[in-house]
Subunit: 716 residues, 2 copies
């Protein structure tokens, strides 16, 4: 834990701040105010060029006047001043910094250079820092808030790390209203030193943090990110939003933190590989993050639904169904118990619908408790418990009738004891999500929220949050991720690559590509190169009929359309004729490949591309001529463990194709998984390989065989 640079940074005994003054319209002053007024118990040293005091605290003109070495310094000064001051604090002995100052990489080349200087200064003094261009951090356990937005409230359970400062400061009021409390929140800014993976690691180790939310626009070191996440996610839920996959999104990300975005499909795969639950909106990030942080884990997929209205009950059930949760019909015994408590027209089956009723005790406690006790559910969604919200609205209409009663007096006529209700999740160790159209003006909503039971403002959201817990159940139950060392480099593969490089070729043709693949045990078609019709015929006889003839051309995509492929040749004559036809179609004396004819209707593909930050990534999906139309592929970063490769096989929409299917046997998934792993290893062992495309991989019976392949080399 203490190896993580954030441990000290998040728990400083003293803080110096440069850039704070007495003008409350200045950012620096706001940062200082939040530290001073938020309840932080450590020492505070403002630096100021002219003022005697800052916010009532003695100010220091220069670093060397400071009475002690501050454990943390915050810089909210112009860019050049930040460089200078970091150096001075480094000399003094300060070893942690938060650089709020902007004007670095995000502004272009000159800023990039300043950012390198900043990094150099920090390295020289062994300073670990957050930022630059960040908004600070907060640690609720020591009431320390270094951001610009005030935050009061109890110590929380949700850890947050964000590549946008907004999400750890502008949302504080939003979160407070919804009863969501951070344990720690960290704005990482440009990540020049401490990055979001450090923050993830820190939050993973932090005992107060029960779940982690990440806002991500780009990952610098993908391998470490995955590794750190995989150690955390089986025990502690991690939920993340990734944005930046679109052109404008990438432009926006680039301009505000200089982060490099990758394609959306890549992050989709990486998050699955890392065991991270992905969400699409910041609302889901916070709300589902809070559900994960506040509720007991889900042990199965069965949800009990209790409502005061059919519409929300139907919507909750439908949303559960679409998110892999069951809403099982209750047992006759349980239904009988429930029927005692509801009106004749109400429904006891699950969802339980009490219909509109101003007495919410059955709705909010008695029936939920019966259901939790029954052992028939793994979680409960409740909609419609309310009182004051409605009473406040109706009071003006009733006031006259009730002798001019005051609102307070009126509300007091409807006392509620919430003790039993709010203790349900802990008592039964079952998660609970509440939906209400009333906010905190209703005493039910307020009671749930103040006892860390999430309340959502729409029924579908409560169901969706429950599904996040269920998703973490699947992640907890994931097969173990066991990393194995890379195998030895295959000399014959390296030789083929070196020859191509020496010859100035940037592409390996099909024959060479398959030899490289075969060198790592990837099953490829048996085949030979032929340079005349006679050689082709001999090759065919040796391989055994039927065979395929094709020009050994690097253009994988359009061989068939150009008449460069002849399938299912059954005789020597067929082969000779086909040979002539290929040469004629090619228009020149190309080498011709004679290959065994692999029969199989199921065509898959595998590929490798390199992405900034992630290195070689492996693609798997549906291949054949309809690849682009079907677009059913999934990605992971290499190297792949067995578990990760297996998960890829079930992560395509048409995964059913790999099962027993219309008389075809189930695919040898272990063999397919091995192929994907080998592809990753190969890419790691041969950095000259830029890209691999194996399409199709035909399932010959159950056995995958690479039927066509292409390898592209790097430019230098």
């Amino acid at each position: 834990m203490k190896n993580n640079p954030l441990y000290k940074l998040m728990n400083p005994g003293s803080i110096a701040i440069a850039g704070a003054g007495n003008n409350p319209r200045k950012m620096g002053t706001l940062h200082a105010l939040n530290i001073l007024k938020g309840g932080y118990g450590g020492k505070f040293f403002p630096l100021h060029p002219t003022e005697e005091t800052v916010l009532g605290h003695k100010a220091y003109r220069t670093v060397d006047q400071l009475p002690q070495v501050p454990e943390l310094v915050m810089l909210i000064v112009p860019t050049d001043a930040a460089l200078h001051l970091l150096d001075e604090f480094g000399r003094l002995g300060t070893r942690r910094a938060i650089v709020v100052t902007s004007g670095f990489r995000e502004t272009g080349a000159a800023g990039q250079k300043k950012e390198e200087e900043l990094q150099e200064i920090a390295r020289r003094h062994n300073i670990r820092f957050l930022g630059p261009n960040c908004i600070g951090m907060m640690n609720s356990q020591i009431s320390l808030n270094t951001t610009v937005m005030p935050l009061s409230g109890q110590p929380g359970r949700l850890g947050m790390a964000s590549q946008s400062g907004t999400y750890v400061t502008q949302t504080f009021s939003y979160l407070k209203e919804r009863g969501i409390h951070f344990s720690k929140a960290i704005s990482v800014g440009n990540e020049t030193d401490i990055d979001i993976t450090d923050a993830l690691e820190y939050l993973g180790q932090d005992e107060e943090t029960k779940a982690i939310a990440l806002y991500i626009e780009g990952i610098k070191d993908g391998a470490r990110f995955i590794d750190v996440a995989q150690k955390i996610t089986p025990h502690k839920p991690v939920i993340a939003q990734y944005v930046g996959g679109s052109a404008a999104g990438a432009r926006a990300g680039m301009s505000h933190t200089g982060s490099m975005a990758g394609p959306d499909f890549l992050y989709e795969g990486i998050f699955k590989q890392a065991g991270i639950i992905r969400v699409d909106t910041v609302e889901d990030l916070y709300l589902n993050g809070w559900m994960l942080a506040s509720q007991p884990p889900m042990r199965g997929s069965r949800v009990g639904v209790v409502t005061n209205s059919g519409g929300p009950g139907t919507a909750i059930s439908d949303t559960c169904d679409k998110n892999n949760l069951e809403v099982p019909r209750f047992s006759p015994q349980l239904q009988e118990q429930i029927r005692q408590l509801i009106q004749a027209q109400a429904s006891s089956t699950n969802p339980v619908d009490l219909t509109f009723d101003l007495n919410a005790r059955n709705l909010s406690v008695v029936i939920p408790e019966l259901i939790m006790q029954s052992g028939e559910v793994d979680g409960l969604v409740l909609h419609g418990a309310m009182s004051h919200g409605f009473l406040r609205a109706i009071h003006p209409y009733l006031q006259e009738m009730l002798g001019g009663i005051s609102l307070e007096g009126f509300l007091a006529q409807f006392p509620v004891d919430f003790t039993d209700m709010v203790s349900l999740p802990v008592k039964y160790q079952l998660p609970m999500a509440v939906s209400s159209f009333f906010g905190n003006e209703d005493n039910y909503t307020a009671a749930f929220r103040s006892h860390s039971i999430p309340v959502f403002d729409a029924p579908e959201k409560a169901a969706k949050a429950m599904s996040a817990l269920h998703r973490h159940k699947e992640i907890r139950e994931r097969k173990e991720i066991e990393r194995t060392p890379l195998p030895a480099l295959a000399v014959e593969a390296e030789k083929i690559i070196a020859e191509a490089v020496a010859a100035g070729r940037q592409v390996l043709d099909e024959y060479q590509a398959k030899q490289v693949l075969a060198a790592y045990g990837i099953p490829v078609t048996r085949e030979r190169l032929a340079h005349c019709a006679q050689e082709a015929a001999e090759a065919a006889q040796k391989l055994g009929f039927p065979v395929v003839l094709k020009a050994s051309s690097p253009d994988i995509a359009h061989k068939t359309e150009q008449g460069l492929v002849h399938l299912n040749l059954k005789t020597v004559d067929d082969v000779k004729q086909a040979y002539s036809a290929v040469i004629a179609a090619a228009g020149s004396q190309v080498p011709v490949l004679v290959a065994e004819m692999v029969q199989g209707q199921r065509e898959l593909l595998a590929g490798m591309s390199r992405f900034p930050g992630f290195g070689p990534c492996i693609m798997f999906g549906i291949g054949g001529i309809f690849t682009e139309a079907i677009k059913d592929v999934t990605f992971r970063a290499a190297p792949l463990t067995e578990t990760e490769a297996e998960e890829m096989l079930t992560d395509i929409r048409t995964a059913a194709l790999l099962q027993q299917f219309r008389g075809m046997p189930a695919a040898e998934t272990a063999e397919l998984a091995r192929l994907l792993r080998k592809l990753g290893e190969l890419a790691l062992l041969h950095p000259r390989i830029a890209e691999i495309d194996i399409n199709p991989i035909v399932l010959s019976g159950s056995r995958p065989v690479a039927v066509d392949a292409l390898i592209v080399l790097t430019k230098e």
Copy 2:
């Protein structure tokens, strides 16, 4: 307009109510209170068995004591009393009713019978009514609210019709807070008389209603629903949520209004056919509905984004991208104008990111106006304009520094004139969506909302709402829907069906099925039936080689696996051998079909099934042996117009397959569309046909040919 039964019901000059008293805990009293206190100007006649007055109004013991014939009666009494009273009001001459009373179809068989009685009574007296088991309605234009939840506020623009009462009453506070105002809202309950389609028609005609939101759990008369919607949707946006597709969802819907749910995929297609924008959550229904009702239409797909923070800017851009909206890079000229107004590190490209700044005028007015003036966008999304929200939070920290200033005094130091800001959408006739993490405690949020500019509590939601407007642009620009009369019944088809019925067969075999299809001009393989090897050989010679032989078996799915299909037979000998093989595999002397061999790699499917409420529905999608694995199909209700059939062709994920594709020509889409239309007509002309399955339809070059087909007949 006045033909619609709701016109009179929603605009009554006088209302009688049975079931209201002076006990404010009773539902009936709440309904009455809302009528009386909501500002309704018409007459009010409470019926009560004992009280002299109800809520200060003279009460009547019996119907015949009423001083005049009420234009509308509301019944909130026990089930049997409702039947009795409706009859009495009918005799008196009342012609409109709202039956809130429950205990009808939703409770089972006995209730169903009472519901029929209710209907019979209404018919007898020519009464048109809402309900039973509904919550009432509201008409903001005459300040009439007959539901249980108080509602105050300005007359609105969004019309709502709902099969759940909750969504027109329990959400009133929710809606008010978000600045969403209904023009009219209608709870349709069990829809015994007036149904949701009547409500849709009424709202379509209502001039105060600028957009319509529907909450749907099941449609009774699909054809009429589609017809009514298609007349409205090119002019006025209709947005709908359908739930009930899951088993538990259907159970819930059944139990609360007795409505019959259909599968989710069916409603997905029906909504597209009707021109209705579908949403998945009630939040999207309200919020996007309000966006559609309150904002000018979108004329293109270009969105300008202005934020005070990179995270939301990135998220908005990404959400736009995922929802078919562009976030174009601004022209150099526009960027230059913007750069004058922003700090050096801020970005002017689009999204414009001003970074955190307490002066929101540039953010909220000046830059948005520049962008709107430029002609470079079709809509604008703004995030981060705020003042009081932040100031309220920071005030306690600053109070001491500022000489103990009060909150009001402090806020008053930051005056804002919102006039320019809130007039932007109308001034430039461009839609605007705002995102803010502050609610109405912030004066910006409050100002936008009070001027009908939607404010969302997350950036992604604002972008998504903009995409709803864009979706309506597509619907406005849809090709015209021109209904044509059904063609004449094909006598030869009816003959084949009649023969099968007479013979007690429930399935037409492939040969018969294709003959039925061919009778309507659907292109099928040329083929003949053979009963011996010699006949098969002769048939092959007449058709021309190569041919296919297959057992003419009704089991479409597994012929191939059972060895009952032999492809690509090129000689008489091949045909004879194949004949013997088929007979051997079949194990009996089955008829054998000899058909032309249709070559083509692209396999589609079309089908027809009947669904309750919708009659014959047409399916189109990807066929062949991977149909079930790929699951790429779309549905519409028959009869199909040309436009509707064409839209099906582009409504599958893999629609690219129908384009020019890897050397294959584009499919003859007109021919495919005609096939789908014919299928629908056929089903309407032959009600004995229960199901049709044409799979595969092979694209032979560009021409679709039905290669296998099956027709199932109804049981009686």
